[in-house]
């Protein structure tokens, strides 16, 4: 019973294994949605590809690095102008994208020379940039171009540059998730440990799995500054390439997004003995808890408590103003995966919001264990949800607001349901104390948008009788 076969899925009954309706008294020993499994063709899934998981989500965030995409033009075009991750150096990473612009002759005869030439050109055109990531794509992987060999050659010719290669074509794995994995493992194996950082503080850490969406990283950095903790590397929000080569020197790895970056934290623990501390950076309660744990690790509890007290004094009244008005709001979350479990309890505790349905594009079963443990009974937990399922779920749970991407947002707009950008945010940052007030504000402004009432009104229904007759 708790696994649900929706009406729209009667022709693809295997979808039943992916949709769970939590019922009181059950637990994850009995039911856990299948996740990170192949998508059924033609279902209008929301998933992207492994290449984008590596380039768009993680590597492309680096603010000093050329992103050389070895393939036809579309892979570059499509992973450009689709993210909101600024940086403190003028947003280099959002302004540019590079492609080897593979054409048919290169497919036939091999694209390695083209790649080599494109790499040299890129460094020549932007002489101040000395770092590069090269990505394979579907066709260059299929024809077997050896991008590692080319990268080696270019590094030999240019001793002042460093190049990382990421062999993660779009068809690898079942979703973006595969790309996260390939980049994480490749980076820790090939690049971590070959630069020594300048240590400027007694306490050091890496902050892993945060991509500076609308300034998240920069906001949280204020906290670490106040605590006197040196962040050696942000993986990868507002980060430099070389920061990430020095990750082995941190005393602690603090992990926000365990899905996209848990791998590197695990490997750093295995290889260098750096402990991994998972926290939630969204929500008051969670952020305070995270700061307490980090402070306890370093033995700076007083500083931690002072910071929390200061932030609470500043932001809690504002949060409570919104909580008063958001109580009882029904929210759906249709995002990548981790934000389901990061948000479901934080919006409940901090804002009185009930999360009634959640869909994950690329979460694994681990993510479902987390979210089902934290989420409510009566809520739907969906892996790799598709468009017809969304319509049906909306009918079943009637959310007041949906946190999802802009395209689905445009779709649900027609159903008079406001959306808030659950990936890139509306007006963030959303992390930290200030950030969660921003989230609350955006949710409030979405729900109380007067246009929603107008959209639901048919002016003909309120005409006086003679005018109505005339209209008919």
């Amino acid at each position: 019973m708790p696994m649900v076969l929706l009406e729209c899925d009667k022709d693809i009954p295997e979808r039943e294994k992916h949709i769970y309706l939590k019922v009181d008294g059950e637990d994850s020993r009995d039911y856990l949605p299948v996740a990170n499994a192949s998508t059924i063709p033609g279902t209008l899934s929301e998933r992207g590809c492994a290449f984008c998981g590596a380039k768009l989500v993680i590597g492309g965030v680096l603010k000093d690095t050329i992103q050389m995409i070895h393939g036809p033009i579309g892979c570059a075009y499509d992973t450009w102008h689709t993210k909101r991750y600024p940086s403190d150096n003028g947003h280099f990473q959002m302004k540019y994208v590079w492609s080897t612009d593979m054409k048919e002759s290169h497919i036939v005869f091999g694209g390695e020379k083209r790649l080599e030439k494109s790499m040299h050109e890129a460094f020549d055109e932007m002489p101040e940039i000395k770092r590069m990531i090269v990505y394979t794509t579907c066709p260059t992987a299929l024809i077997g171009d050896d991008i590692k060999a080319v990268a080696k050659k270019v590094m030999e010719a240019r001793p002042d540059v460093d190049v990382f290669t990421c062999e993660c074509p779009g068809f690898a794995g079942v979703s973006q998730s595969k790309g996260h994995h390939v980049l994480n493992i490749g980076w820790v194996n090939e690049k971590v440990g070959n630069i020594e950082p300048e240590i400027t503080a007694k306490h050091t850490m890496n902050f892993i799995g945060d991509y500076n969406i609308q300034g998240d990283t920069q906001l949280l950095q204020q906290y670490w500054d106040k605590l006197g903790i040196q962040v050696i590397a942000h993986f990868t929000g507002n980060a430099n390439y070389d920061d990430l080569r020095a990750m082995h020197r941190a005393q602690l790895n603090v992990v926000n997004c365990a899905r996209s970056a848990g791998y590197i934290a695990n490997e750093l623990k295995k290889k260098y003995g750096i402990p991994r501390l998972d926290i939630d950076s969204w929500g008051f309660n969670y952020m305070a808890e995270g700061i307490r744990k980090i402070s306890a690790f370093f033995g700076i509890e007083d500083k931690g408590e002072a910071l929390i007290a200061e932030e609470y004094a500043k932001w809690k009244p504002k949060l409570d103003w919104y909580k008063e008005r958001l109580k009882g709001t029904k929210m759906a979350i249709w995002t990548g995966g981790p934000r389901l479990w990061h948000w479901t309890k934080s919006v409940e505790d901090d804002l009185g919001v009930q999360v009634v349905a959640m869909s994950s594009k690329f979460g694994h079963q681990e993510d479902f264990e987390k979210v089902i443990a934290r989420g409510q009974a009566g809520t739907y937990y969906i892996d790799d949800g598709n468009e017809l399922e969304f319509f049906e779920i909306i009918d079943l749970v009637k959310p007041d607001v949906i946190f999802t991407g802009p395209r689905v947002g445009e779709l649900v707009k027609k159903l008079h349901i406001p959306y808030v950008n659950g990936h890139a945010y509306h007006n963030g940052p959303y992390m930290g104390f200030e950030g969660f007030v921003n989230l609350a504000r955006d949710m409030y402004n979405a729900i109380y948008n007067p246009l929603l009432k107008l959209a639901a009104t048919d002016p003909r229904a309120t005409l006086s009788t003679p005018a109505k007759e005339a209209a008919e």
Binding site: T39, G42, R47, G48, W80, C138, G173, A455
Partner: protein
Amino acid sequence: MGCEVTTRERAGIINPMYDCQPAGAQYAGIGVKDCIPLVHGGQGCTMFVRLLFAQHFKENFDIASTSLHEDSAVFGGHQRIEDGVLTLVRRYPELRVIPIITTCSTEVIGDDVEGTITRCNKAIKAEFPDRKVHVVPVHTPSFKSSQVGGYSECLLSLVKSLATHKAAPSGKLNLFPGWVNPGDVTLLKHYLREMGVEGTVFMDTEDFDSPMLPDKTIHTHGRTTVEDLQGSANAVASLALARYEGASSAQYLQTEFEVPAHIVSTPYGIANTDAMLQKISEITGKPIPESLIRERGVAIDALQDLAHMFFADKRVALFGHPDLVIGLAEFCMEVELKPVLLLLGDDNSRYKKDPRLLALKSKVDWDMEVVCNADLWELEKRVKAPDTRIDMILGHSKGRYVAIDANIPMTRVGFPTFDRAGLYRHPTMGYRGAMLLGEAIANSLFTHMEYTRNREWILNTW
């Protein structure tokens, strides 16, 4: 003095102007009613293109993927086409057309799309004897051409697959406007109506600008029907408004069904619109009505206020689709703007020989450069060069940072224009389009004058 045609010399691209072929094919595909394109490739090839359309139109469009994974790369992906088609047919009872759009990966793997479609047809017939679903092969490897060619290829494949025989003449005119906005389609339909000409616009994207309704129904979809495509063979003539985005379909209908094909200059600006209307008049025998002369007059009247006062000698850089860029360069010259830099963004060798470009070359008495196979780095480098002066950039949103960083006013035009509100709603073609674009350019210049305190006091009394 004169016009120089150059080509990007670098192998690689920094900041592309166009997306790849499958993206263009998807744009043509969503123009058809009761149609969900099925893109045969990795999921990103669909997901990002849907996002791109959503960014531009602020609407959702349904496009499916065969979700190609490793096993298909090894064993072939034909089964995923078949599964995808049947899943779509089963779950979407209204569905009538499924273009199978290939990508680089599936073309490299070499999946037999045509053979698979035969199997799909059999399976659909067995399961749904009362339904006819047209499954159309569209070969668009990403390593050839660009979104421009992909649009053209998908349109041609749809015409070829659906317009299979000639029936009684319909007297209708086929209109192939190319990759344009809903606002352009509305304008073209208005022109046909004013002239009393029956016609079909391929693709009819008017409903890409769709409402929020009290009953919550969703109407965001193409309006070109199966019958429209089938009937294209019976038309009185075809008029292609874009040489690179639809002319091949007009030519096909001429070769195959003797529907006369006319390729006119893309109707950007006054003279090109005149020529289009004259051609319609010539084909149909219907005169250009007074109402359109009045619209023309309103546009010229508005532009007259801008040209020699504000536009004259302003040096303009243009980038975007080839038919758009060339057409807008012609428009610029009508209003005394000086197109000095034209960027065309793929390796199509025909651009260099485009008669409109050759005519421009003979006309300009200043230095003009046309860069073929260009990327936006070509634009950025020239804009940054100390000896260059660009006063205005005309192009789509992907070039926004060139303008922002160089502090040059930019007017958004073309596809995509996601960083400005509502542009898809307005025409760029026709008299009205020329007027609206001219006014948008003027307003960009005015705002820039104010923000840079550059003779902003002129407008104290304009």
